[in-house]
């Protein structure tokens, strides 16, 4: 646990609006090491989701530099950033965000096919699904036929399929009841235990308790 896998240097995000610029993030600098489990907390509107979007390469900072595994993302074009999202970053959303047209199995397999241009014949998809507790018969269902907890398990398996360096979780238990939340957090904690780097946005102190470190964001700054 030494080399920084995520490094933010004076990152700012400003949304230009006709009524005046809105600063979502201003001058954020932080470093997250490999294997760390970091929780980002803060009241709603503090900019914690915006911060996660920057780290996840879904958005570009207005100024400042973001280094992922030592590489500056400022110089990357959309194609390269998309490539990072495919291979190096696993995203877990509050609303699960599974593809409705695909079955659970296919949802997990999708990033694998996009990356490798072939079906998974290594059993990786099946293993990941088993790890998160989705059996073969469940994995044939479409997302809308499954419960929230099941969907989030599938989303976790999907995030892991290309073996990403970083796992980003945006309120992963926000749409789940407390019992299911607990199960999901156990899975995430287990992943951390196996050495995975996790960054999780949450406003729930209980959930944040699983993390090694908590970063609080207030008004777009590290508090």
């Amino acid at each position: 646990m030494s080399s920084p896998v995520i490094e933010l240097d004076n990152v700012a995000k400003v949304y230009p609006l006709p009524s005046g610029d809105v600063t979502a993030l201003s001058g954020i600098s932080l470093t997250i090491d490999e294997g760390e489990f970091v929780a980002i907390m803060g009241p709603s509107g503090s900019g914690k989701s915006t911060l996660l979007n920057q780290i996840g390469c879904l958005d570009r900072p207005t100024s400042g530099d973001l280094f992922l595994a030592g590489k500056n993302t400022r110089k990357m074009d959309d194609r390269e950033l998309t490539g990072l999202r495919l291979s190096s970053i696993g995203y877990i959303f509050q609303k699960f965000n599974l593809i409705p047209l695909l079955s659970a199995y296919e949802n997990v397999e999708y990033p694998y096919i996009v990356k490798h241009r072939r079906n998974d014949d290594t059993g990786r998809v099946r293993n990941l699904l088993a790890q998160v507790g989705i059996d073969k018969s469940l994995s044939a269902h479409k997302p809308n036929e499954l419960s929230g907890g099941q969907q989030q398990r599938i989303a976790i398996a999907r995030a892991l399929v290309n073996d990403p360096a970083i796992l980003l979780c945006d309120e992963p238990t926000g749409n789940l009841d407390s019992r299911t939340s607990l199960q999901i957090m156990e899975i995430l904690a287990d992943l951390h235990g196996r050495g995975r780097t996790l960054v999780m946005v949450t406003h729930n102190p209980e959930t944040a308790g699983y993390a090694d470190r908590t970063i609080t964001i207030r008004d777009g700054r590290v508090a």
Binding site: L58, D59, T82, G83, F93, L101, V114, N119, R158
Partner: protein, 407 residues
């Protein structure tokens, strides 16, 4: 299990998920393809059958007196006017015929045609018909009698099948030629009924009475004067040479004759048919335009409905080009399915249209005709893909974060 090309698989699933909407959009393409293909085939079949009919006479030339101005003229300059008026401009005289005969001697044969339009009376029925006067030998050579025999005497004639049917003529029927109010009539006897000749430019015998020269001169006079000289060239290669030679010889000082070959008639008919076909096809093209609008609408709906899904796909690492491809595929599937159904339907409907409008499906499977099916198919599918470009481009350029926020 999903295939290797997951982008294509997603497009297909989207089409299947919105099956009715997709079918309706594809239906527009089906109609457009059918309209264009069947009208195109109709035009091609018309042209082909006219060309076939006309190419039978590609080796024939007609020489008619020069009447100034326009070339395409009908015979019979009216009434009984031709009886004995010695107007050089309206007839081909014996000397001119000898010249033509001399020029054409080594290429084929020339024969004279006399013709007049006159009143005919069969029993109590009266009507008008063209009366041809030809050499008795020539009648035997040029025309084919279906029933009966060729005319030998000055009172026997053969009649065209259309005229025979219309006036109820049979072998042995008597026809009175001429208007009793203007003078005497001549009674002739039908000895044969001709085979149908269709549309020709040398002799239009279907609605005519054909008799010998002697009969004709007997009625209308005009010894040594002809309305037309027909030339049959044995080798089609020489048609132009013969035409030029006649024109140079007879029109040396001033224009006295007009020489026509069938190519001009063919050209003008083909041009007319193709103008008409193009015009009707343009109207049919509008149906494809309407189909394009409906495909566009469906594609925009598909993009708008799936904004969130596009956001998901982008956020987990799907490239812009792959999103673009996904929607182009979707439009392409609609286009291909529509065009394929349209192709099958247009063969069926085209066949019925051709049968109804042209009357013969002899040329239906000729390349020039059936070729309209793949052509219309390609146009239909291409229109779909082109129409899908803008919605697909829009989808691929969505901001992933904005897209994820959509409900």
């Amino acid at each position: 299990m999903i295939g290797k090309d997951i982008i294509l698989a997603l497009s297909m699933r989207s089409v299947r998920l919105h099956f009715l909407r997709s079918v309706l959009a594809a239906l527009g393409i089906v109609i457009g393809v059918v309209a264009i293909a069947s009208i195109g085939m109709m035009g091609a079949n018309m042209t082909l059958s006219v060309t076939e009919e006309l190419s039978d006479m590609a080796n024939k030339l007609t020489v008619t007196p020069y009447r100034g101005g326009g070339g395409g003229m009908m015979m019979g300059p009216g009434g009984g006017g031709g009886s004995s008026s010695d107007d050089d401009d309206d007839v081909i005289d014996e000397d001119q015929f000898r010249d033509i005969e001399r020029i054409t001697a080594k290429y084929g044969t020339a024969y004279t045609v006399r013709s007049e339009s006159d009143r005919v009376e069969i029993g109590s029925d009266t009507g008008r018909a063209t009366i041809y006067g030809l050499d008795a030998e020539i009648i035997r050579e040029i025309l084919t009698v279906e029933t009966g025999e060729y005319p030998k005497s000055t009172t026997s004639v053969v009649v065209g099948p259309t005229l025979a049917e219309r006036l109820g003529l049979k072998i042995g029927s008597k026809i009175d030629i001429g208007d009793p109010d203007e003078g005497s009539t001549t009674t002739v006897r039908v000895v044969g009924i001709l085979e149908e000749r269709g549309m020709t430019m040398d002799l239009s015998t279907d609605m005519a009475i054909v008799g010998t020269d002697r009969l004709f001169v007997g009625i209308y006079g005009g010894e040594g004067e002809y309305d037309q000289v027909n030339v049959v060239v044995s080798d089609i290669e020489n048609v132009d040479a013969v035409k030029t030679a006649i024109e140079e010889e007879l029109n040396r000082q001033e224009d006295t004759v007009t020489v026509q070959d069938s190519s001009r008639m063919m050209e003008s008919i083909t041009a007319t048919v193709s103008t008409m076909t193009t015009f009707v096809m343009a109207i049919a093209g509008i149906s494809l335009l309407v189909a394009a609008v409906s495909i566009f609408n469906v594609m925009m709906m598909s993009v708008n409905e799936r904004i969130r899904e596009i956001g998901i796909l982008r956020s987990i690492g799907t490239q812009r080009t792959e999103i673009l491809r996904m929607f182009i595929y979707e439009a392409g599937i609609l286009g291909l399915v529509g065009a394929a159904i349209g192709a099958v339907a247009s063969i069926v409907i085209g066949y019925i249209v051709v049968l109804g409008m042209v009357g013969s499906t002899e040329y239906f499977f000729a390349p020039a005709s059936i070729g309209y099916v793949p052509m219309a198919m390609a146009v239909g599918a291409a229109i779909c893909v082109v129409t899908g470009v803008y919605p697909a481009w829009r989808a691929s350029n969505l901001d992933p974060i904005e897209a994820l926020r959509a409900e």
